[in-house]
Amino acid sequence: MEEKGCLGIPRALMFYRYFPFWRTFFERLGWKVVVSDGTIRREKIVFFEDSCLPMKLLVTHAVQLREKVDHLFIPRLVSIHRTYIMCPKFRGAPDVVRLATEGKVSVIDETIDLRKGGLSLLQSFLKIGEKLGSTRQEGKKAFREAEHSFNGFQRGWVDRINQLPTRHLFEMDIPIPAQRSRQGCPEPYMVQGATSSVEVGGKEIGAPLHVALIGHPYNLFDADINKDILSLAKNLGMKILTSDLLTEKEIDQELSDLSKEIYWSSGREIVGSLFHFLSSGVDGVVFLTSFKCGIDALLQEFIKRRLKVRGGSSIPLLILSFDEHTGREGLTTRLEAFRDVMEEQKRLQIAKCKRM
């Protein structure tokens, strides 16, 4: 099919979950999908009012694409769940981008509100297709293929995170490498850079530490936000799990006894998956938060109180807060110490099992 033009997707916010869907949809309709570069270090972050870092990054990436594309795709995400809603900033995102790009580029900002029923997602995308000059028939076909592509991508997600470098996570054309034979037996933790081979971790622990990373997808997978915590964690011998693994039922189970409902879909996912992982199966849970995020601020407090009521957690929990730091040192220190805590707990458990 001849390409109709360039459609730009900023590498920010829900790109970090839905990109496989979006890309397939637009490509099937004959558009060349252009994504902004991952590295913003060279460029300045575009500031507007007093926003959270992820939102600033959206604007920065959109401005980067402004001259290179015919349309920018910034959906107005009101709700991505049949009952719950997104942070209000997502509603305003297309307008903020329009202001920042001074109206110089067309912004496709179709509203996505899944509270309107099962077919509303399809309807929204059909409208997008029509705006881009496609028939409803073409739109439907592209939508089905996008769904298929997205589901396939989700299935391989945990392997992707653990086996690909962070910058390749959303390069859909790069396949997941075959499992390495040394899996389950990580390299001993070498002293970084020092000319020595003494293990930092101390006693050998056979299996890698299973760590659940919890948070908004962009906080988890955008290396510009989290200083590439994924590679840092993997280098420290951790296997990473995320809430993508869990079913809605598993997440909801942990939320059934709340005194007040969390009405943000992302908040529900964070709290539900966090407590799911804290009650079983992993060696540690890390909650990544954005310093300026109102939802995260409330959730942190909420989680701490709930933990207190439950009498603490036997699985170690680390809460990390990110803002525009450029140094990685603070993150490294916390993550290394967290690994020491997890290892110690694991060693105690093994010793306990042996005694029994």
Binding site: A194, S196, V198, L317, S321, T332, T333, E336, A337
Partner: protein, 326 residues
């Protein structure tokens, strides 16, 4: 006899290079502190490490064989490259290890340093939780340093001055900038220096408890360490707020370095990588450049000893690191 013992027995060197101060400890096989030093970096960690090694040597009276070296603190990697370390450990674990040997039944460690403050929760001699200050240094030593300088008093006199206060003033502790504004205001309306200093101690303590300890279970026995543990004003204010009395270890100011030395003692390297005490007479410096090979644009640092590049770091791809080794 003492010198002879030192020669026969194994010795371990722990180095803790923090944001404001550098601490070195020489530990014997039996875990005894043979020599220790605590000095300000003044923004020059390399010189501080060299000076620290000189201090240690002076205290021991002669060069001793070293069986292992470990580094910790925020400049632990720099220090490790410089001296040739066998082990690099984060400061949270290092502090905890030092306390677990000192007081196995400890349940909480409060550590307030120059730019970091932490709480470490221990249960049954094992770290189960920890927290560090996040985006603000209001609950740390550098906050006190700055305000003491503003009041024209030495930081050493600061704590005792606070104890003389009759009516500590209330000062906003949420943020250093606000605290400063608040403090100047109190000065202008005529409060005594003692009352202001005591107010600053209270505000630091509130900030520490609200920021770092929030949601953590602070149970006794509580061990209080780090440079700020020397400040009697802070000590008293913290105890009052927590309604508990603290245990302050004898070597409270160098616990991180002790922990590092204990860790390397435990690891028992078969042969140490230590570059030797000659290092303090060599010229050591670093230089940085921005690599242009890829879009990462890493800031690469080279360490030069006697004008020779001996180590390289900061490159995400480790291109220069390997070039060094090969």
């Amino acid at each position: 006899m003492g010198a002879l013992q030192v020669l026969i027995m194994a010795n371990y060197l722990g180095i803790d290079v923090g944001s404001i101060t550098t601490k070195l400890v020489m530990l014997s096989e039996s875990g005894q502190v043979l020599a220790k030093t605590y000095l300000r970096n003044s923004g020059r960690p390399i010189e501080a490490i060299q000076q620290g090694m000189e201090d240690i040597l002076a205290q021991l009276g002669k060069t001793v064989p070293i069986d292992g070296v470990a580094t910790t603190g925020s400049a632990r990697h720099l220090a490790a490259y410089l001296v040739g370390a066998d082990l690099i450990k984060n400061e949270i674990t290092a502090h905890a290890i030092a306390v677990i040997d000192f007081l196995p039944e400890a349940k909480t460690i409060i550590e307030i340093g120059g730019q970091d403050s932490k709480v470490i929760v221990l249960r049954n001699g094992v770290v189960v939780d920890f927290a560090m200050n996040t985006v603000c240094a209001a609950g740390t030593g550098s906050f006190l340093d700055q305000q003491a300088a503003r009041l024209g008093i030495s930081i050493e006199a600061f704590g005792d001055l606070a104890l003389k206060a009759n009516h500590p003033v209330r000062i906003a502790g949420r943020c250093t900038v606000f605290a400063e504004t608040d403090m100047i205001h109190k000065q202008q309306i005529g409060h005594s220096v003692e009352d202001i200093v005591a107010g600053l101690c209270d505000s630091l303590v509130k900030n520490y408890l609200n920021n770092v300890c929030r949601g953590k279970e602070v149970l006794s026995p509580i061990v209080f360490q780090g440079g700020v543990a020397a400040n009697r004003g802070i000590h008293k204010a913290l105890e009052k707020e927590l309604e508990a009395s603290f245990i302050i270890p004898k070597h409270f100011d160098v616990m991180g370095a002790i922990g590092a030395a204990k860790l390397v003692k435990r690891a028992r390297p078969s042969e140490t990588k230590f570059r030797g005490f000659d290092l303090l007479r060599k010229s050591c410096s670093t230089r940085g450049f921005e690599c242009g090979e890829c879009e990462n644009q890493c800031e690469v640092i080279e360490l030069l000893v006697d004008h020779q590049v001996v180590a390289c770091w900061g490159d995400l791809c480790e291109r220069y690191r390997y070039a060094q080794k090969g």
